[in-house]
Every structure is written in C-alpha cells, then in structure tokens.
Symmetry: C2
Subunit: 244 residues, 2 copies
C-alpha cells in the first residue's frame, strides 16, 4: 500500500514535470531529458511509468477534463454549463498541467491522439445541456450534442486567439462574451434573465466546486487537495491504451 502510494506520487511528479515542459516548449521541442532534469529522476524511473514522450502527452491530454472539478449544483442546469467553462478558465490561468494540456490539444502532432479532451468536454457539456433541455431551460430546436460541440470547439479557439493577441485580450472576459453570445440563442428568455455571466464568477464557482469535491471524494473529478497542488491524491490515468 505504501509502495503503491509512492508509485502514484512518482507518476504524478513526472506528469507535472512533463506538463511544465510541454507548456513551455510545445510537444515537438520538448525533450525527455528536459523532463528528467526538472523532476530529478533517471530514465528508468520515467520508463517504468510512461513508455515514451507520446504516452506522457497522452496522459497530460487525458488529465484536462478529469482534473477540472464539476461545478456545484445550481438552480438552472444551463448555469452549471456556463460554470463548467468558467471553472476551467480560472484554472487555466494558474495550473501548468491544464495549460500544457490546452496547448497540446491545439497542436497537430503526427501520431498523437488529441481526441480525449474534445470527446470528454463534449460529453460533459452534452450531459448538462440535455438535463437543461429536459427541464425546459433550452429552446425547443436545440440539439444538446451539437451545442456542446460548438461550445467546446469555440472555447479552444478563443483560448488560442487570446494567447496569440496577448496581452491585448483577457481570457475570462472573452469567454464570458462567448457564453453570452451562445446563451441568447439557446436558453429560453425567462431562464436567460436568471443567469450570472458576470466577471469574477469563475473564482467563486471554482472555490465552491473544490469544496464540493473535497467533501465527496468518491467522485470522478479532481480532488480539492490536488487543485491546491499537493501530490498524492491524484488518480493515475487509466486510458494510456487508447492512444495512437
């Protein structure tokens, strides 16, 4: 048990070092030796956990959605759909693992399967939008899966544009503008009036989500301790085999 815990910690340390290097240099320019230097380990230790650079990138990509906590329940499911994006936006500003993952999901690399985060985000958004539709919060013609794809695709592009135009644009402000544009075409007017899409909401809903996931550690989302950067509580990814 102790040995298993140590292995989980080691794997996490390697993953975080890899993320820092991918965030800084991108996939192509990142070298395994940069990652080893940063984590202070031997090649053998790394290869015990990850077969190669591609497996490291796959694990970083896979962490993107799993490590973003789900929002606390709200009066409207469509508010939870917005909060999902705001929580991620707020984490992106500070979390190197999510920053690296966002960068990798935009860079086309031969042989690297970048589909995980898109599939997982679309799934999480589709679920919330389907529940919202079931409760009558959305206009009748809305297809939850289609709106989820638009949201996920558009979000990634806003992030890329803000990075390209730094420091002229602020990510939270642009993401709020994106949600306002989408909401007015998908939610019924009475619900629109009740939604909060004001600046600063991201920070509050992230704090609520972290409290929620700390209290309930049986959930499949990132635990509060991990959000605050302590190792040891992270789950080891189980999807390496899906790469390629």
């Amino acid at each position: 048990m102790v040995r298993q815990e140590r292995a989980i910690r080691t794997r996490r340390a390697i993953l975080e070092a890899a993320a820092a290097v991918f965030d800084e240099k991108g996939y192509e320019a990142a070298k395994l030796t940069d990652i080893l230097d940063r984590v202070g380990m031997t090649k053998g230790a790394l290869y015990f956990h990850f077969a190669n650079k591609e497996a490291l990138a796959a694990a970083v990509l896979e962490a993107q959605v799993r490590e973003t906590p789900v929002p606390a329940p709200q009066a409207y499911k469509v508010q939870e759909y917005v909060d999902t994006g705001l929580i991620y936006t707020h984490l992106l500003a500070t979390d190197p693992l999510l920053r690296a993952s966002a960068r990798l999901s935009l860079e086309r690399v031969h042989g690297l399967n970048r589909s995980y985060p898109y599939i997982d985000w679309v799934e999480r958004n589709t679920k919330l939008l389907s529940e919202a539709k079931g409760r009558g919060e959305l206009l009748l013609h809305i297809d939850p899966a289609e709106t989820a794809r638009i949201t996920v695709g558009a979000y990634g592009g806003m992030n890329a544009m803000v990075a390209a135009l730094t420091p002229r644009l602020n990510l939270e402000r642009e993401i709020l503008a994106l949600y306002r544009h989408l909401l007015s075409g998908i939610a019924v007017p009475a619900v629109l009036m009740e939604l909060d899409v004001r600046p600063g909401r991201g920070e509050r809903v992230l704090a609520d989500a972290v409290r929620l996931s700390s209290a309930d550690d049986g959930r499949g989302c990132r635990s509060g301790a991990t959000v605050r950067g302590e190792p040891g509580t992270a789950r080891s990814g189980g999807r390496q085999g899906r790469a390629g």
Copy 2:
C-alpha cells in the same frame, strides 16, 4: 519588369513550398532543407526572398486573410459576414497555403508573431458587422468588434476540433452550426428569416467571389487566377517587417 515578374513567381513558389511543408509537419519539425528540396532551389535563392524560417511562417500567416476573397455583395451585410466564413471553409479543404496558415495560427511558437490572421479576420468581420448594424440588421446591444472576436476565435477552435476528431466531423457542417448559434443571438428576427446557412452555400459563394475578384483586379483580395493555383498574379506580401 520581366525580372520583377520572375522574382514574384520565385517568391510565390518558395512560399507555396514552405506552406506545403508547414501543413505537413508543423513549424517546429519543418526544416529549410525540406522546403528547398520541394521547390528545387538553392539556399541563396531562398535567402534572397526570406531571411529565415520565421519569415517564411510570417508570410504564410499573413497570406491567410489577404488570399481569401471577399464575398459578392448580398441583400444583407450579415449574410456577407456568414459568407466570409463559408468561403474560407471551402478554401481550407483544398488550398495548402491556407491550410498551413490555419495550422500555424494555432501553434504557439516562441518568437513567432501569430497575431496577423486574428487581427485581419477580426477587422474584416468587424467592418461587415458594423455595416450590418448600421442598416438595422443586428440587435441593438451587439458590439460588432466583440462579436467579430468571438466569431474569429470560435472559428479557429472549431477547425482545430474537427481536425482532432477527424474523420468523425465535417468542417462545413460544424461551421454552419456555429454561425446558426451566433446569428440567433445577434441578428433581428426578420433578417434571420432571410439568411441562407444551408450546406453547399460555401462552394457557390466562393465561385461568385472568385468571379468578382477576377473582374475587378484593383481590389486588395486574392485574384481568381491565384485561387486556381496559377502563379504570377499573387501580390508579394508587404508586412514582413511586422514580425517578431
């Protein structure tokens, strides 16, 4: 005059070879020797036109908006706003220069200024949306520059997502869904009823735009001949100096 024409052709051939290599390998993995091999030239000829790989990438990025023809005039300016995106979508499927440019605009590379295409697309969209607003086609609260940024950012992300999920998604279908989502929140109902956002429109409006720009070669957009891949009519870019 003949010498100048030959220089323009040579520059164009180098640019197209560079685009093909960037499209295939991305910026980091692309080597100048790959580009020289493809175009069959010496280093000296390349360096006469482009200082280095970064200057080549800057020229490919810069071509993205300039080489996308503007749509033919429509009854509604907001239709021209949609047609702008549809023309680009249709070109992306076949034009290696635009494909490479789209890829480069999503990849973060140290020292490479990726702002051109974002700035130019936002400018082109802002102009059309401002005209649409002036004619009463848009809802009163719409800020044309903000909606233009959302459109441009979202478009790039949809393209990245479709690439990551290939062959599950079709770019034209997803882009039409994006425009339908945005339009319902920005255009007045009477105009919405008159808009065409059906599949296949991109091909028709591209053909119209090419005809228009061939007939009027004083415009700042790509000429019809260039769209069909003939060299010699392309303008040499004048913005290399903005890189860095």
